[in-house]
Point group: C2
């Protein structure tokens, strides 16, 4: 676990930052998923889902955050970084995180439908540590609210 | 099968175009994978692997081609398109192609190490047809040559 004593930089602290990103997506009528990538207690990338706005299925929060963090570091590998994301990554994002050899993944809500854990074969890089369920409730609620609103719009 | 009688637009025809892209990657010392996306016998996106140049693990040929084709079409879904790619897609790209609901995937060489077929769970969209092994030999040879060269460089 990365939680230091007496540090404000807990997993929940950074997950709140990811949630702010998810809220931005929500406000843009995007599926509300947000992510930040942290290196040595500093946020080096922030992103939220932009698939509607960019009309691009690859524009998930995690994918944008990976590209952004790599640009920032000038390095392909994120092996001293933690990704915080409000929703369990899908298979595309999990496999991208494998390529990036990220050290840690911390996620909020589970995604039984599209989350990468639906696949039994190891998807992530063997050196990646995973912490599920941080701030699970607010992360899940933002998703629920979004899809509830959309159903209302359709009726 | 999409092979029309008397048409030059066979799967091999478009795979040769993907191979040209792979050759460009090779010449740039990128892992030589190339892709084109075709809609109604027209190439609407071309791309090759750029992970080294962009220092971005997400910059696989298929990912760039998906984004490019979506930009061209102004649409997130590629459900009347065929992707031609010289190497079996990895899990990230296969999952992206699932999100894109692409109609057909035609690939050249198999990739037993990182190819998506290493996962037993269904990765692709259920409506996606897959044609493996088109122009397998030249596709595989370009990869072999690339890694052989790299080994020589290391010695």
């Amino acid at each position: 676990m990365k939680q230091h004593d007496n540090s404000i930089f807990t997993d929940a602290y950074f997950m709140k930052e990811a949630l702010k990103e998810a809220q931005k997506a929500f406000d843009m009528e995007e599926v509300p998923v947000g992510a930040v990538i942290v290196s040595r207690d500093r946020i080096i990338a922030r992103a939220h889902n932009m698939t509607q706005q960019l009309r691009d299925v690859t524009a998930h929060a995690e994918m944008i955050a990976i590209t952004s963090a790599s640009n920032y570091l000038g390095a392909k590998y994120l092996n001293e970084c933690t990704l915080y994301v409000t929703l369990e990554p899908c298979l595309m994002c999990a496999a991208a995180l494998r390529w990036a050899q990220i050290s840690r993944i911390v996620y909020g809500a589970a995604d039984p439908g599209e989350g990468y854990t639906r696949v039994r074969t190891a998807v992530l890089h063997p050196s990646t540590e995973v912490i599920p369920g941080i701030m699970e409730q607010p992360c899940a609620e933002l998703m629920k609210e979004f899809f509830l609103n959309r159903r209302d719009l359709k009726n």
